[in-house]
Protein backbone atom coordinates (compact mmCIF):
# COMPACT_ATOMS: atom_id res chain seq x y z
CA UNK A 1 0.00 0.00 0.00
CA UNK A 2 1.40 3.36 -1.04
CA UNK A 3 2.19 5.88 1.68
CA UNK A 4 0.03 8.98 1.80
CA UNK A 5 1.96 12.18 1.08
CA UNK A 6 0.71 14.72 3.59
CA UNK A 7 3.05 17.45 2.48
CA UNK A 8 1.77 20.86 1.46
CA UNK A 9 2.34 22.15 -2.08
CA UNK A 10 4.68 25.14 -1.81
CA UNK A 11 3.00 28.52 -2.21
CA UNK A 12 6.05 30.74 -2.53
CA UNK A 13 4.07 33.94 -2.04
CA UNK A 14 2.53 32.63 1.18
CA UNK A 15 5.74 31.18 2.61
CA UNK A 16 6.69 33.13 5.69
CA UNK A 17 10.27 34.18 6.35
CA UNK A 18 11.07 33.12 9.89
CA UNK A 19 9.04 29.91 9.74
CA UNK A 20 10.92 27.48 11.97
CA UNK A 21 10.61 23.76 11.40
CA UNK A 22 10.36 20.93 13.88
CA UNK A 23 13.75 20.00 15.27
CA UNK A 24 15.44 17.11 13.55
CA UNK A 25 17.63 14.65 15.47
CA UNK A 26 19.96 11.94 14.26
CA UNK A 27 23.01 10.03 15.41
CA UNK A 28 26.15 10.60 13.37
CA UNK A 29 27.79 7.24 12.78
CA UNK A 30 31.40 6.41 11.93
CA UNK A 31 30.10 4.80 8.74
CA UNK A 32 28.51 8.09 7.68
CA UNK A 33 31.81 9.89 8.28
CA UNK A 34 33.87 7.25 6.43
CA UNK A 35 31.53 7.20 3.42
CA UNK A 36 31.52 10.98 3.25
CA UNK A 37 35.32 11.13 3.41
CA UNK A 38 35.60 8.61 0.57
CA UNK A 39 33.15 10.60 -1.51
CA UNK A 40 35.02 13.87 -1.08
CA UNK A 41 38.42 12.16 -1.32
CA UNK A 42 39.62 13.78 1.89
CA UNK A 43 40.46 11.50 4.85
CA UNK A 44 40.51 14.49 7.20
CA UNK A 45 37.24 16.09 6.13
CA UNK A 46 35.72 17.31 9.37
CA UNK A 47 32.12 18.18 8.54
CA UNK A 48 30.17 15.26 7.07
CA UNK A 49 27.06 17.18 8.09
CA UNK A 50 27.39 19.13 4.81
CA UNK A 51 26.21 16.07 2.89
CA UNK A 52 23.22 15.59 5.17
CA UNK A 53 21.48 18.68 3.77
CA UNK A 54 19.80 19.17 7.13
CA UNK A 55 18.94 22.75 6.38
CA UNK A 56 16.42 21.69 3.73
CA UNK A 57 15.42 18.34 5.23
CA UNK A 58 12.59 19.63 7.36
CA UNK A 59 11.45 21.97 4.60
CA UNK A 60 11.24 18.95 2.29
CA UNK A 61 9.39 17.01 4.99
CA UNK A 62 6.71 19.69 5.12
CA UNK A 63 6.49 21.02 1.57
CA UNK A 64 6.43 19.53 -1.88
CA UNK A 65 7.53 21.52 -4.93
CA UNK A 66 9.00 21.10 -8.41
CA UNK A 67 12.47 20.44 -7.02
CA UNK A 68 15.33 22.85 -6.56
CA UNK A 69 18.83 23.78 -7.54
CA UNK A 70 21.38 24.96 -5.04
CA UNK A 71 22.37 28.44 -6.16
CA UNK A 72 24.52 29.45 -3.20
CA UNK A 73 25.59 27.87 0.06
CA UNK A 74 27.45 29.20 3.06
CA UNK A 75 28.94 27.02 5.78
CA UNK A 76 30.24 28.10 9.19
CA UNK A 77 32.52 25.69 11.07
CA UNK A 78 32.43 25.69 14.87
CA UNK A 79 33.39 22.19 16.02
CA UNK A 80 33.77 18.98 14.01
CA UNK A 81 31.05 16.51 14.96
CA UNK A 82 32.01 13.28 16.73
CA UNK A 83 30.87 9.81 15.71
CA UNK A 84 28.23 8.33 18.00
CA UNK A 85 26.86 11.66 19.15
CA UNK A 86 23.26 12.66 18.64
CA UNK A 87 22.91 15.89 16.65
CA UNK A 88 19.94 18.23 16.91
CA UNK A 89 19.21 20.50 13.98
CA UNK A 90 17.12 23.64 14.09
CA UNK A 91 16.18 24.95 10.65
CA UNK A 92 14.13 27.90 9.46
CA UNK A 93 13.24 29.96 6.41
CA UNK A 94 15.79 32.77 6.55
CA UNK A 95 14.70 34.68 3.45
CA UNK A 96 13.02 34.45 0.07
CA UNK A 97 13.56 36.61 -2.98
CA UNK A 98 12.71 37.01 -6.63
CA UNK A 99 15.58 37.51 -9.07
CA UNK A 100 15.22 37.70 -12.85
CA UNK A 101 11.74 36.30 -12.56
CA UNK A 102 12.84 33.25 -10.59
CA UNK A 103 11.87 32.32 -7.05
CA UNK A 104 14.49 31.58 -4.42
CA UNK A 105 14.19 30.33 -0.86
CA UNK A 106 16.93 30.75 1.74
CA UNK A 107 17.03 28.13 4.48
CA UNK A 108 19.32 28.25 7.49
CA UNK A 109 20.14 25.56 10.03
CA UNK A 110 22.27 25.17 13.13
CA UNK A 111 23.46 21.80 14.43
CA UNK A 112 24.29 21.13 18.07
CA UNK A 113 25.45 17.84 19.56
CA UNK A 114 24.15 16.10 22.68
CA UNK A 115 26.86 17.73 24.80
CA UNK A 116 25.76 21.18 23.72
CA UNK A 117 28.67 21.75 21.35
CA UNK A 118 27.81 24.02 18.47
CA UNK A 119 28.76 22.11 15.30
CA UNK A 120 27.98 24.21 12.27
CA UNK A 121 25.64 26.64 10.57
CA UNK A 122 24.56 26.28 6.95
CA UNK A 123 22.70 28.80 4.81
CA UNK A 124 21.40 27.69 1.42
CA UNK A 125 19.82 29.63 -1.44
CA UNK A 126 17.68 27.35 -3.56
CA UNK A 127 16.22 28.20 -6.94
CA UNK A 128 12.72 26.76 -7.04
CA UNK A 129 12.40 26.46 -10.82
CA UNK A 130 15.08 23.83 -11.46
CA UNK A 131 14.14 23.24 -15.11
CA UNK A 132 15.28 26.80 -15.80
CA UNK A 133 18.90 25.86 -15.13
CA UNK A 134 18.68 22.92 -17.52
CA UNK A 135 17.85 25.37 -20.30
CA UNK A 136 20.73 27.61 -19.22
CA UNK A 137 23.16 24.72 -18.88
CA UNK A 138 22.32 23.45 -22.33
CA UNK A 139 21.10 19.99 -21.38
Amino acid sequence: MAEVDNRTQLDWDALEVGETFEKFEYVLTQEMIDTYRKGVMDPEAGFPTIAHKVDVRQYNAKYTDDGSVNARCAFHCYNSPVAGKRLTVTAWIADKYLRRGKNYIVTEAVSVDEDGRLIDRVITHELKQPSEVGKKWGG
Binding site: T35, Y36, D42, P48, I50, H52, A71, R72, C77, P130
Partner: protein, 150 residues
Amino acid sequence: MGRVIRSYEEGDEITTLVKELTQEAINLFEGSAGNTGPSQFTDEHAAKEVLGTEGTVASGRMSLTFAIEMMRRHFGADVFNHTGTVDLRFLRPVRPGDTITFTGKVSGSTKEANGARVSVDIEAKNQRGDTTGVGQGTAIVPNAFLPPED
Protein backbone atom coordinates in the same frame (compact mmCIF):
# COMPACT_ATOMS: atom_id res chain seq x y z
CA MET B 1 59.39 25.00 19.66
CA GLY B 2 59.50 28.74 19.05
CA ARG B 3 56.68 31.15 18.82
CA VAL B 4 55.26 31.46 15.34
CA ILE B 5 53.79 34.69 14.09
CA ARG B 6 51.77 34.40 10.91
CA SER B 7 50.78 37.28 8.74
CA TYR B 8 48.63 37.35 5.64
CA GLU B 9 49.01 39.96 2.94
CA GLU B 10 46.38 40.96 0.43
CA GLY B 11 47.05 39.15 -2.82
CA ASP B 12 48.70 36.13 -1.19
CA GLU B 13 47.68 33.01 -3.04
CA ILE B 14 46.73 29.93 -1.09
CA THR B 15 47.55 26.41 -2.21
CA THR B 16 45.39 25.23 -5.08
CA LEU B 17 43.19 22.15 -4.71
CA VAL B 18 42.29 19.88 -7.65
CA LYS B 19 39.48 17.32 -7.57
CA GLU B 20 38.42 14.81 -10.21
CA LEU B 21 34.71 14.11 -9.95
CA THR B 22 33.36 10.63 -10.59
CA GLN B 23 29.83 9.28 -10.36
CA GLU B 24 31.08 6.94 -7.64
CA ALA B 25 32.26 9.89 -5.55
CA ILE B 26 28.93 11.64 -6.03
CA ASN B 27 27.06 8.48 -5.02
CA LEU B 28 29.17 8.15 -1.87
CA PHE B 29 28.60 11.79 -0.96
CA GLU B 30 24.84 11.43 -1.39
CA GLY B 31 24.76 8.02 0.27
CA SER B 32 26.72 9.13 3.33
CA ALA B 33 23.56 10.65 4.75
CA GLY B 34 21.41 7.69 3.83
CA ASN B 35 20.03 9.27 0.64
CA THR B 36 19.77 6.17 -1.50
CA GLY B 37 16.80 7.05 -3.70
CA PRO B 38 17.27 8.34 -7.25
CA SER B 39 18.00 12.05 -7.54
CA GLN B 40 19.42 14.52 -10.02
CA PHE B 41 22.82 13.69 -8.53
CA THR B 42 22.71 9.93 -8.89
CA ASP B 43 20.22 9.07 -11.62
CA GLU B 44 20.17 10.26 -15.24
CA HIS B 45 16.40 9.96 -15.57
CA ALA B 46 15.85 12.02 -12.43
CA ALA B 47 18.30 14.64 -13.72
CA LYS B 48 16.42 14.81 -17.02
CA GLU B 49 13.09 15.10 -15.25
CA VAL B 50 14.07 17.69 -12.64
CA LEU B 51 16.74 19.72 -14.41
CA GLY B 52 16.29 18.88 -18.06
CA THR B 53 19.95 17.89 -18.30
CA GLU B 54 21.29 14.88 -20.20
CA GLY B 55 23.29 13.56 -17.28
CA THR B 56 23.72 13.79 -13.54
CA VAL B 57 25.35 16.72 -11.78
CA ALA B 58 27.26 16.96 -8.52
CA SER B 59 25.61 18.70 -5.60
CA GLY B 60 26.91 22.21 -5.06
CA ARG B 61 27.65 21.05 -1.55
CA MET B 62 30.48 18.92 -2.95
CA SER B 63 32.12 22.06 -4.34
CA LEU B 64 31.49 23.72 -0.99
CA THR B 65 33.24 20.81 0.73
CA PHE B 66 36.25 21.13 -1.58
CA ALA B 67 36.53 24.87 -0.95
CA ILE B 68 36.42 24.13 2.78
CA GLU B 69 39.19 21.54 2.33
CA MET B 70 41.37 24.08 0.51
CA MET B 71 40.88 26.60 3.30
CA ARG B 72 41.47 24.02 6.02
CA ARG B 73 44.70 22.83 4.44
CA HIS B 74 45.95 26.40 4.26
CA PHE B 75 44.96 27.67 7.69
CA GLY B 76 45.17 24.35 9.55
CA ALA B 77 42.37 22.30 11.06
CA ASP B 78 42.94 23.79 14.52
CA VAL B 79 42.06 27.20 13.16
CA PHE B 80 39.67 26.52 10.32
CA ASN B 81 37.48 23.84 11.88
CA HIS B 82 36.57 26.26 14.68
CA THR B 83 36.45 29.64 12.99
CA GLY B 84 36.20 29.00 9.25
CA THR B 85 33.48 29.96 6.84
CA VAL B 86 32.95 29.49 3.12
CA ASP B 87 30.20 31.15 1.08
CA LEU B 88 30.06 29.86 -2.49
CA ARG B 89 27.80 30.69 -5.45
CA PHE B 90 27.35 27.94 -8.02
CA LEU B 91 27.53 29.27 -11.56
CA ARG B 92 27.80 26.17 -13.74
CA PRO B 93 27.17 22.48 -13.19
CA VAL B 94 29.91 20.13 -12.11
CA ARG B 95 29.48 16.74 -13.76
CA PRO B 96 31.06 13.31 -13.40
CA GLY B 97 34.33 13.33 -15.32
CA ASP B 98 35.05 17.00 -14.59
CA THR B 99 38.32 18.10 -13.03
CA ILE B 100 37.74 21.10 -10.81
CA THR B 101 40.54 23.40 -9.68
CA PHE B 102 39.97 25.56 -6.63
CA THR B 103 42.09 28.66 -6.16
CA GLY B 104 42.14 31.28 -3.44
CA LYS B 105 43.67 34.69 -2.96
CA VAL B 106 43.77 36.69 0.28
CA SER B 107 41.53 39.72 -0.18
CA GLY B 108 42.03 41.38 3.19
CA SER B 109 41.99 41.02 6.95
CA THR B 110 40.24 42.70 9.85
CA LYS B 111 41.08 42.72 13.54
CA GLU B 112 39.14 40.47 15.88
CA ALA B 113 39.38 40.17 19.64
CA ASN B 114 41.41 36.98 19.38
CA GLY B 115 43.31 37.54 16.15
CA ALA B 116 42.61 38.56 12.60
CA ARG B 117 39.81 37.53 10.30
CA VAL B 118 41.50 36.73 7.01
CA SER B 119 39.30 36.81 3.91
CA VAL B 120 40.02 34.78 0.80
CA ASP B 121 38.43 35.13 -2.63
CA ILE B 122 37.70 31.63 -3.94
CA GLU B 123 37.19 30.50 -7.51
CA ALA B 124 36.48 27.05 -8.95
CA LYS B 125 37.10 26.25 -12.62
CA ASN B 126 36.59 23.13 -14.66
CA GLN B 127 39.03 21.56 -17.13
CA ARG B 128 37.68 23.78 -19.91
CA GLY B 129 38.47 26.93 -17.92
CA ASP B 130 34.82 27.68 -17.18
CA THR B 131 34.15 29.12 -13.75
CA THR B 132 31.83 26.79 -11.88
CA GLY B 133 31.77 28.62 -8.56
CA VAL B 134 32.92 31.82 -6.87
CA GLY B 135 32.80 33.02 -3.34
CA GLN B 136 34.66 33.93 -0.24
CA GLY B 137 36.13 32.12 2.72
CA THR B 138 37.28 33.43 6.06
CA ALA B 139 39.25 32.18 9.04
CA ILE B 140 40.14 33.86 12.31
CA VAL B 141 43.87 33.42 12.69
CA PRO B 142 45.35 33.89 16.16
CA ASN B 143 47.91 36.66 16.35
CA ALA B 144 50.45 34.17 17.62
CA PHE B 145 50.31 30.51 18.36
CA LEU B 146 52.44 27.49 19.09
CA PRO B 147 52.16 24.83 16.43
CA PRO B 148 51.64 21.30 17.71
CA GLU B 149 54.70 19.19 18.51
CA ASP B 150 55.74 16.75 15.78
